[in-house]
Amino acid sequence: MFKKTRVRFIIIAVVVILAGYSLYWSIAYSTMSEAEKENLKEKGELEKYHDRILHLGLDLQGGIHLVLQMDIPKLVQNLASNKDDKFYDLVEQAQKISREKDTDFLQEFKNQVTEKNIKLARYMSDLGYKNENILNQLDQEAKDARSRALAVIRNRVNQFGVSEPIIQKQGEDRIIVQLAGIEDPQRARTLLQRTANLEFKLMKDPRVTQSLIESIDEYYKSGEGTKVDTAIAEGDTSEADSTVAVKEAQDTTVSVEDILGPQTDQDTAGADSTVVVDKELMKEKPFSSLLRSGREGIILVKKENKYLVDKMLNEEDVQDLFPYNSDFYWSPEPEPITLRSGTTEEFYKLYHLNKEADLKGTYITDAEASIGGGGTAAGQNIVNITLNNRGARELARLTGANVGERLAIVLDNSVYMAPSIRQKITGGRPYIEGFENMEQAKDIAIVLRAGALPAPVDIINERTVGPTLGQASVDIGVQLMLISFVIVIVFMVIYYKKSGLIADLALILNLIIVMAVLAYFNATLTLPGVAGLILTVGIAVDNNVLIFERIREELEKGKTVKSAIDSGYKSAFTAIWDANFTTIITSFILMQFGTGPVKGFAVTLLTGVIASFFTAIFVTRTIYNYMTEKKVKQTLSI
């Protein structure tokens, strides 16, 4: 295979170029100054880098890793009333068994109930009369609680504003949260475990919003906010081509989940000002040029611009411009919105709302997605809401006084939707209509229930590393790696002379390839990962040692240089193969069973071993071939 030396060199060159390209982003990123990073962030271009660089793990840059577990036993307890010792015993017993046997709690709970012949209706009459129905209902509640917890946690994590939050479901009942580079881990823990806060807030009159936006424009234009201003001027150029689409966009924002009622033609006064044609105008309106007008007074902000808009709004002097009892709130996640021009872009929605809650979420006793039965909602996807008596009274008062206004659903400071109030609602059973599909309706029902029925969540595992220790680890990791690397490299040259140099070259290439592969897969380098990398050095060297020792043996037998090299590689190969293959087996097992840190170690080791097949065998062989091809060598420096 690949007999021709030239072909082999081309293959090597291709690999080196690919590796170099993959690493380019990481190098560019790590040499960037904080100011440059901030600038890119404001332009919304930093994400491009984030997707392509080798990330440092929490242990290296500081941060918090949490495993949250849904407390299903507690949920079951919360759903029960008239609890007696017998009931507590039941839950405790089921919990104990499920932990010991690593089985599902609810399953064990069911077994216990059947075994002990307990009538659940005594405790949970709301859920049904027969045990069977109640147990099914419990399953449903648990499932529900899981999605609520995930929705709540996702929303909160996104609000931390860390660059790459990780939220992962693990199994049925666990959620892994990773926040890198966070300064105050205590705050993160408290925030994640706090009960969800659901509120309803009236949307501000679009005219008020418009004049506020104008005064913010004035503020930035006057040069008082110079720092941010320059960034925008630069940001504009990059947006120049998208402005064409924006021009058409003014009434385009084709409804994604536009909500409730006939669309009023009452123009959001913002429409005119948000259409920006040229850069001059952008300089005229440094703030509003970043906004697009959506329907009904909702402002759209391109995903890339969210950071900058948020930063501009949070400027202290700008906050002073806000009218009494008003603030801006974001939608939890960006949504794709298709403009009339046919292009689809990701937008956040920005809402200008009352700062104080107009109605508390705790008044809600239930919310459920269903199909509307009559009136305008017949056959549509709707969410039925039930409020308690006090909530019903407040809602009646609120809706009576604000017909035609919009009432935003705000969970933990994110706005999920803002339906408009069509009429005074008495009786405490409102519904929301206008969902495109059942999924959307269900999502909103989950949000609405999150305030009323908190899903109990426990932190069961955490690793927190402060920024100081992180930096110290990076320094030490780099130092140790360099030292061990230099020792090995020098040793190889002393022991194997020129051949040692060839092996060293392969070694360096090996490290480059491993880093490049990790960066390509957007992997995270942890301290154990660095340990794996260092161990890779040992293994890669071993492959060359095996080969070189064989070549020496063959030379001693009196073979020519060329045939010694040939049979050296050939006979060393089976040993290399078997030895490395077993390392691959153990790496895989480590990856399978290991948790975070161990996995990092296994991944780098695995990549390193596989890359060493290429570097220690293919690359070094190519160099030998090149050396012996042109003229017959009498001696070999080995």
Binding site: P185, N461, R463, A575, P597
Partner: protein, 294 residues
Amino acid sequence: MQFLKDTHIKFTGHSNKAITVSLAIILAGLVSLVFVRGLNYSIDFTGGTLNHVKFSREVEADEIREAFDNQGIEKRVVQGTSRPTEYFIRMPEYSREGGIAEQVEAALAAVDPDYEILSTKGVGPQIGEELRRNATLAIIGALVAIGLYISFRFKFYFALGAVAALVHDVLFTLGIFSFTQMEISISTIAAFLTIVGYSLNDTIVLYDRIRENMQSRKRYDIKDLIDESINQVLSRTIITSLTTLFVVVVLSFAFGEVKIFAYAMVIGVITGTFSSIYVAGPLLIAWQKKLKTS
């Protein structure tokens, strides 16, 4: 440059003595493991909280203990580090409820208001159990997978020799960990598996040579053949062990889990080299005789 050129050491001749010495150490380790000191499991397996705290001045461990006592937290282990301003404080429980976190903060502030928590690790009881299960599965899984692979690539009695050498290494390292009371954490388990892999490399290189020599000659004395094979790969074994040793010795200057990982590896590299020469090779003679007579 070349060490160990053309050696003819009769390894199988004195392997009994060597194995006796190492068995004695393993036995002592096992006694310590089972009857005397046991193993020092980290909170990864027992559950609990571990805080790495840095104070702005040099602090005595007793000061910290007293401050924790005053807060009513009596179950705590205060352990110094190589730096007099930094301590590890370990508590047997991990809970965010009941204000324990606040109590800990109050205790630390009483020692020195300018304290900084460098890192926190918390493991709930469920996780501890799970990790123990997973770690045991990982080690058994690795041994089985390796045994299968070797039976497939070599012969069955080779696999027996290799696994015996691996068990030797793991027991030896465990014994040392029991003597020294170094912590068994998730990283240590990773180190054990790496040791298994590493020691296996040596064994496989040797077996590969033995197999090659068996195939290339028609008649041989198994003892001589094994001795010759060990001598042939000896140079490689020593060089690789040395370079790996360099690397892991350097690594042992790190801190935290990586340090313990490196210690385990230092022990593992030494015992791995030993076992491939004195356990894996000579055992083949015994197995082969048994298999031939039966």
